[in-house]
Amino acid sequence: MARILFVNDEADLVEVSSDLLSGEGHEVVALTDARQTLETARRMKPDLLVLDWILNGLTAEDVVRQLRLEPATARLPILLISALSDTAERARLLTADGYLRKPFSAEGLSRAVAALVPR
C-alpha cells in the first residue's frame, strides 16, 4: 500500500488517524511538529502528505509552497485538512490535491486518502 506522512499538531487525532490508516495497510509516519515536515518529506519520499492547515506557528501555505519549490517534493500529492470554514478555495489555489474539512469520519478520511494514493 502507500507510504503516508501525516502531519498534525493534535496528538490524539494523529494517533487515531495513524491507527486507522495503518489498519488499512498503509505505512504511516506521523509528525506533531510541523517544522520537521520538509526534512522528513525529503528523506522519506512519501506517496502522500496529509497536512493540517494550522500547525504550531506555521500554516499549510508556508509548507506547501516550500514543497512545491523543491524538485524532489514538487509533485508530492497533498491532502489538506482544515477546521476553518473558508479554506477549501484557498487549498485549491495552493495546488493541494485533496481537501478534507474537520470534523470528519473514518470513512471520510479513508475515501480521501484512497483517492490520492497509488492502487
Binding site: 493534535e10 490524539d12 487525532l13 487515531v16 488517524s17 491507527d19 486507522l20 494550522i54 477546521a83 476553518l84 470554514s85 474537520k102 470534523p103 470528519f104 469520519s105 473514518a106 470513512e107 478520511l109
Partner: protein, 374 residues
C-alpha cells in the same frame, strides 16, 4: 445690520484662526492630553491627526457666505468630522472624550479670540453652529464605527472559538467512527454518539455563519444560476429526513428558471427552511413551491406543524428562539436563513397558515444579468 456685524465678526475670527492655527492647536493639545488622553499608548500624532486641516477648513467656512456654510458644513466639513470620529474609535476614545475634545476646541478658540479682542459668543454665532454640526457628525460616525468594530471583533472571536471546538470534535468523531468498525456489537450506541457529534458540528457551523452574516463579513456573490438546481441540492437532506420520519415531501419540478443570486447563501437559506419544516411537520407533510412574479421570485415552504402563537411567529427568526418541543434544533437555522437572504437584498417571512401549519416564504429579486463574452 445685526447680520452684517455677525459676518464682520466671523471674517475677523476666520483670519485669526488662520493666523493662530499653531497656537490653537498647541493649547488644544495640552488641554486634551491633560483632560482626556492620559492613557498610555496614545501617540501625540494620533491626537493631533487632522487638527491643522480642521482649523483651515473652519477658517474657510467662516470666510464664506452663510448660505455656503449651511451647505458646506453638511457636505464637506462634516466629512472631516466623521473621519475624526472614526479615528477616535481606533485609539479607544469613548463618546464623552470625543465630545469633550470639541468643547475644548471651542473654549480654546474663544480664549484666543478674546485675547485678540474678538467676540465669538452667543447662541447665534456661526462658530457655535459649525462646531455643533461637527460634534453631531463625529458622534454619529463614532457610534457607527464602534458598532461595526464590535460586530467584527465578535465574529473574529467566534471564528477562533469554533475553530478550536472543531479540533477536539474532529478527533471525537473520528474515534467514534473507528470504534464502530472495531466493535460492531456496539454499532447502535456508537451511531447515537456520532449523531450527537454531527449535531454539535452543525451547531458550531450555525453559530459561525450567524455571526459572520451579522457582522457583514460574508460577501454576497450573485451570479446567474438555475434555481431548480439550487432547490434540488438544498432540499436533499430535508427530503431524506422526511422519508425517515414517514411524512411526505412535495416539490414541483422547477425547470429553466434562471435567477441572479448568491448560490451558496440561497442554498443555505432554503436548506434551513426545508429542514425546519420537516422537523415540525405532522401528517400532511411539507410542500415547496416556486412562484415567479414580474420582478421577484418567491420560494414557498409550507408544513402542517401545530399552531403557533403570534409571539412565536414574531420571534421565529431571532437567535436561540425555538418552540419547546422535543424536535427543536439549536435555534439558529432560521436566523442563518434570514441573514443569508437579507445579505443579498432579499427578504424572508413567516405566517401561521390557517388553524395549523406554517408558511415561510423567501422573496428574491428576479433580475438576470446579461453575461458578456470575454
Amino acid at each position: 445690520m445685526e447680520g452684517q456685524e455677525d459676518l464682520g465678526a466671523a471674517r475677523k475670527l476666520a483670519a485669526l484662526i488662520d493666523c493662530e492655527r499653531d497656537e490653537i492647536e498647541r493649547r488644544w493639545l495640552a488641554r486634551v492630553r491633560a483632560d482626556v488622553a492620559r492613557a498610555p499608548g496614545i501617540e501625540l500624532t494620533q491626537l493631533r491627526a487632522g487638527m491643522h486641516e480642521y482649523l483651515a477648513g473652519l477658517a474657510a467656512l467662516l470666510l464664506g457666505p452663510r448660505a455656503a456654510f449651511e451647505r458646506d458644513a453638511r457636505e464637506v466639513w462634516a466629512k472631516v468630522a466623521r473621519e475624526h470620529g472614526i479615528a477616535r474609535v481606533r485609539i479607544g476614545f469613548d463618546i464623552g472624550q470625543l465630545v469633550h475634545e470639541f468643547v475644548v476646541l471651542r473654549q480654546v478658540i474663544r480664549a484666543v479670540a478674546l485675547d485678540a479682542g474678538i467676540a465669538v459668543d452667543g447662541p447665534e454665532s456661526i462658530l457655535a453652529d459649525i462646531l455643533d454640526a461637527a460634534i453631531a457628525a463625529a458622534v454619529q460616525a463614532y457610534v457607527d464605527a464602534r458598532d461595526h468594530e464590535t460586530k467584527r471583533r465578535q465574529a473574529e472571536y467566534v471564528a477562533f472559538l469554533t475553530h478550536e471546538l472543531r479540533n477536539p470534535l474532529g478527533t471525537a468523531m473520528l474515534t467514534a467512527s473507528l470504534l464502530r468498525r472495531h466493535v460492531p456489537q456496539e454499532k447502535g450506541t456508537l451511531e447515537k454518539l456520532e449523531r450527537s457529534h454531527q449535531r454539535l458540528s452543525e451547531m458550531i457551523d450555525g453559530v459561525l455563519l450567524t455571526e459572520k452574516l451579522g457582522a457583514g463579513t460574508v460577501e454576497s456573490r450573485p451570479t446567474n444560476v438555475d434555481l431548480g438546481k439550487i432547490l434540488d441540492d438544498a432540499v436533499e437532506v430535508a427530503r431524506c429526513a422526511a422519508e425517515r420520519k414517514g411524512v411526505a415531501f412535495r416539490m414541483a419540478r422547477v425547470a429553466g428558471l434562471c435567477v441572479h443570486v448568491d448560490p451558496l447563501l440561497t442554498r443555505t437559506a432554503i436548506q434551513h427552511l426545508a429542514e425546519n419544516a420537516v422537523r415540525y411537520a405532522e401528517k400532511r407533510g411539507i410542500d415547496v413551491a416556486v412562484e415567479t412574479r414580474l420582478d421577484d421570485v418567491v420560494i414557498h415552504v409550507r408544513n402542517d406543524c401545530p399552531a403557533l402563537t403570534d409571539d412565536e411567529v414574531r420571534t421565529l427568526f431571532e437567535p436561540f428562539e425555538r418552540t419547546p418541543t422535543p424536535q427543536a434544533g439549536a435555534g439558529l437555522g432560521l436566523v442563518v436563513a434570514r441573514r443569508a437572504i437579507e445579505a443579498q437584498g432579499g427578504s424572508i417571512q413567516a405566517a401561521q397558515a390557517g388553524t395549523s401549519g406554517c408558511h415561510f416564504w423567501i422573496t428574491l429579486p428576479r433580475r438576470v444579468v446579461a453575461s458578456h463574452p470575454h
